[in-house]
Symmetry: C2
Subunit: 434 residues, 2 copies
C-alpha cells in the first residue's frame, strides 16, 4: 500500500490549538492591510475619493455582473451624512430601546445589506417564515434564503415605554443613539420555540442561547432600520470590515469572472490555503479566466473557547505572507456577523450573506457552523448535513456550492479515507483509490 | 349596547366535553353511510363497477379541474390485483422490517397519494428538506409543501438484518406482509433534532413523541413503497375512508366548481355547521355556482383524551341528520393521517393533503393542530401562528386559505370580540362593530 499526499502543511500552523486562547503565541496585532499590495487600499483609505462609498437609505441597486443580491437590491440603510443631524434630533425625541453588544452587530449586518432584502429587525411575518421555512417569499413571488431569525428582543419595561409609538430610537450599550427603527411591530418572543427550531435542540449550553437569548426580554421588536452612521469598532480591524457594496465594487474593479467565498471562524492554515488554491484551479479548469477568492473570517460574536478575531487576523496575515495565496486574486475581509453555532441552519446564512457580497461560489466543508453537543458526547449536527442542507436550500439555487475537496491520492486503499484537520474539523481531502 | 348573534348552538352538542372518552353518551356505531342519499355509495359499494378505483403503481395522472395534486401526479402505489401474487412471493423472499400500528397508518396515507409526490417513506434528502424547509424541491424546480417528516424508524437489529439488500418487505403488527420498500436508504434517526424542529419544543409529554418516537429505533429507512393491497381497518368505518382519487372523482361527478375542506379532530357541532354554511355562502357570493364541502375528520392516531373516531363519526351523523348541512353539497369522509399535535407545522400537512384530495379552499381556525404545552400552563403555540404560517407556506400558494369567520354582529362594541368555542378552541366568529 502506498500513500501519496500532495498537501503541504506547516507544522507551525497546524499545531495551533484553536480551543485555546493562546494569544502569547502571536505578536500584537499590526494595524496594517493584510497585503502591502492590497488593491483595496487606495480606494478605501485615500482621501482623494471622498464619498465614494457614501451610504444611502434610498437603496440604490447595486448589481454585480456575477450574482444579484437577494431581492435584486443591495440594502443600505445608513443615513446619508447630509441627513444625519436632523435624523439624530428626531431619534432623540422618540421612545428608546437599548441595544446589547450583539444587537449592534446585527445592526451592522443589516445596515450594509448582508441580510438583503431585510431592511431591519424582523417583523413577525418575516420571523415566522425564517423559523419555519428558512426563507422569505417576496411580493413578486420569488423566494430568498433567510435561515436565521434576525430579531431584536426587548423587555416588558421597554415595551411599556414604547407604548403606541410607530418609531423607536435605538441606543447603543454606551448610551449613544445609533439608529431609528421605523413602523415598528412588537410580538411575543417564544424563546423555547425559537431555540428549538433554530438549533434543533433545547439542550442547555448553546453559546448564543446562554449569552443572548436566555437573558433577553420576552418581546421582539421589528421594523425598518435607519442607521445614523456606519458602525465602527475602533479595534484596529475596521479596515478589514468591507461592506458588500465595497466588495462588489472591488470584484468588478478586478474584473472577476468568478468569486469564491471561504467562511471560517478558526485560524487559517496551509491546508486551507491549499484548498483555496485547488478551488481556484478547478474554476480555471471550468473556463473561468479570473476567479477571485473572498477569504472571509467571521468577525462577530464567537464562543469563549474560539480564537479571538485579532489573533486570527494576525495569523491570516502570517499565512498569507508566506506567499501561499496570491494577493492579486485574493481579498481578505471580515464578515461582521455573530456566530450562532447552528450548523445546517446557520451555514445557509453564511452562504446567503456572501451572495449579497457578490460571491457566486461558496466553499463548504465538514460540519459547517457546527460544534460539539452541549450535553452529549457527540457532534451536535451530522457532519454531512450542513453541506446537504445548503445544496437544497430555498433561495440559494443561484449559488454554486463547492464541497470541500483537495486532490491527493493513495494507492491500494480499500475505502475513502479523508484527512481530518485537527484544528478546524475540516476534511482536508477526499482520497481516491488507485 | 346591543349584541345580536346569529349563531344557533345546540346545548346538547356544545356541552360535549371532548377531553373525556365518554362513549356511553352515544349509541353503538351504526355501519351505514352518513347520508342515506350519499352519492358516493353506488360508486363505492356497487359490484357493477369492479375495478373502477383499481390501484396502479404506475402513477396515473389524476387531475381535477380545480387544483392539481402536488407534483402534478396523484401518487398511487397500491399493487394492481393482477400482480399481487408475484409481488407477495417476492416480498416473502426479502429481508423484513416490522411495522408498528402508526407506521401502517403512514403506509395507508402514502399509498393513496395524500402525501403526493412522496412515493414512500422519506429518504434523507426528503427528510432534511421537510425538517428545515417544510417543503420539497422537485426536479423541475417547483416546490411542494411537505412539513412533517414521514419516516419509518427501525432498530439496530433490523438494520443489521437488512444488510446490503436494496429492497425490504414490510410486515404489519399482526405479521402479515403489507408492502415492499424499494431502493432503500438507511440513515440516522436523530430524535432530538427531529422533535425540536417539528414541534418547536423538546419538552416531555408530546403525545406522538412519547408514543412513537421515544421508543423507536435509531435509524430511518427510506424508499419507494409498493403496497400489496389497500389498507383496511375492519372497524366498521372503512367506508368513510375515501382515497384522494375517489374524492376527486366524486367532486368531478358532482361538477363542483369549488371544494372547501374542513379538518377536525374533535366532535362537530352546530357552530361548525354554521361556519361551513357561512363559508358556502361566501363562496357563492364570490361567484362559485356549486361549492362542495369536504367535511373531513382525522382518523389516525389521536391522543388518549381526544374523542375516539367511532364516537366522533356517530356524532357527525347526528349533527348531519339534523339537516343543518345539505347532503347534496357535502361529502363526509375520514382523513387517515395520524395527529402530531405540531401546530403551525402540522396544519400545513393537513392543508396539503386536502389539496391532493382536490380541495382548493381550506378553512383554518384558531390554534390548528395545537394543544396545551405539556409542561407549562400555556398553549404550546401562539394561537394565531397556524393561520399565519399556513398563509405563507411554500408550495401552498395555489390553495385558498379561509380563516374562520362567521358573520354575527354587535353594536357599540369598541373592539373585535371573537367567540371561542369551549369544545374545540375555534373562534366561532369575528365580531364587527356597528
Amino acid at each position: 500500500m502506498s500513500l501519496t499526499i500532495k498537501l503541504t502543511i506547516s507544522p507551525r500552523i497546524i499545531n495551533l490549538n484553536c480551543h485555546e486562547r493562546n494569544r502569547t503565541k502571536f505578536p500584537a496585532i499590526r494595524p496594517k492591510p493584510i497585503y502591502h499590495s492590497n488593491a483595496l487600499n487606495p480606494i478605501l483609505y485615500s482621501n482623494k475619493r471622498p464619498g465614494m462609498f457614501q451610504a444611502s437609505v434610498s437603496g440604490t441597486v447595486i448589481k454585480s455582473s456575477l450574482i444579484e443580491p437577494d431581492g435584486g437590491v443591495l440594502v443600505d440603510v445608513i443615513v446619508p451624512e447630509s441627513e444625519r443631524g436632523s435624523k439624530t434630533l428626531e431619534a432623540e425625541s422618540l421612545p428608546k430601546a437599548r441595544l446589547a453588544k450583539i444587537d449592534v452587530e446585527w445592526v451592522h449586518v443589516i445596515s450594509e445589506g448582508w441580510a438583503s432584502p431585510l431592511k431591519g429587525f424582523m417583523r413577525e411575518n418575516e420571523y415566522l417564515q425564517s423559523l419555519h421555512f428558512n426563507s422569505l417569499r417576496m411580493e413578486n413571488g420569488t423566494v430568498v434564503n433567510m435561515s436565521l431569525p434576525i430579531v431584536l428582543a426587548i423587555d416588558d419595561e421597554t415595551k411599556e415605554s414604547i407604548g403606541s409609538s410607530k418609531d423607536v430610537g435605538l441606543v447603543g450599550p454606551e448610551g449613544d443613539l445609533l439608529a431609528i427603527l421605523r413602523s415598528i411591530e412588537i410580538y411575543k418572543h417564544n424563546k423555547e420555540e425559537r431555540i428549538a427550531r433554530t438549533w434543533g435542540t433545547t439542550a442547555p449550553g448553546l453559546p448564543y442561547v446562554e449569552e443572548f437569548i436566555a437573558p433577553a426580554g420576552n418581546w421582539l421588536l421589528g421594523g425598518d432600520l435607519e442607521v445614523l452612521k456606519p458602525i465602527k469598532y475602533n479595534d484596529g480591524l475596521d479596515h478589514y470590515r468591507l461592506s458588500p457594496k465595497q466588495l462588489r465594487k472591488e470584484f468588478d474593479r478586478r474584473q472577476a469572472d468568478a468569486v469564491f467565498a471561504f467562511q471560517l471562524r478558526n485560524p487559517v492554515h496551509n491546508g486551507h490555503a491549499l484548498l483555496m488554491n485547488d478551488t481556484r484551479r478547478r474554476l480555471l479548469e471550468m473556463g473561468y479566466k479570473n476567479p477571485i477568492l473572498l477569504l472571509h473570517p467571521l468577525g462577530g460574536f464567537t464562543k469563549a473557547d474560539d480564537v479571538p478575531l485579532d489573533v486570527r487576523m494576525e495569523q491570516h496575515s502570517k499565512v498569507l505572507e508566506d506567499g501561499v495565496l496570491d494577493p492579486e486574486t485574493t481579498i481578505v475581509a471580515v464578515f461582521p456577523s455573530p456566530m450562532h453555532y447552528a450548523g445546517p441552519t446557520e451555514v445557509q446564512w453564511h452562504a446567503k450573506a456572501r451572495v449579497n457580497a457578490g460571491a457566486n461560489f461558496y466553499i463548504v466543508g465538514r460540519d459547517p457552523a457546527g460544534m460539539g453537543h452541549p450535553t452529549e458526547k457527540r457532534d451536535l449536527y451530522d457532519p454531512d448535513h450542513g453541506k446537504k442542507v445548503l445544496s437544497m436550500a430555498p433561495g440559494l439555487e443561484k449559488l454554486n456550492i463547492l464541497p470541500f475537496r483537495v486532490g491527493f491520492t493513495t494507492s491500494n486503499l480499500s475505502a475513502k479515507a479523508p484527512f481530518l484537520c485537527i484544528i478546524c474539523h475540516f476534511w482536508l481531502a477526499s482520497v481516491t483509490t488507485s
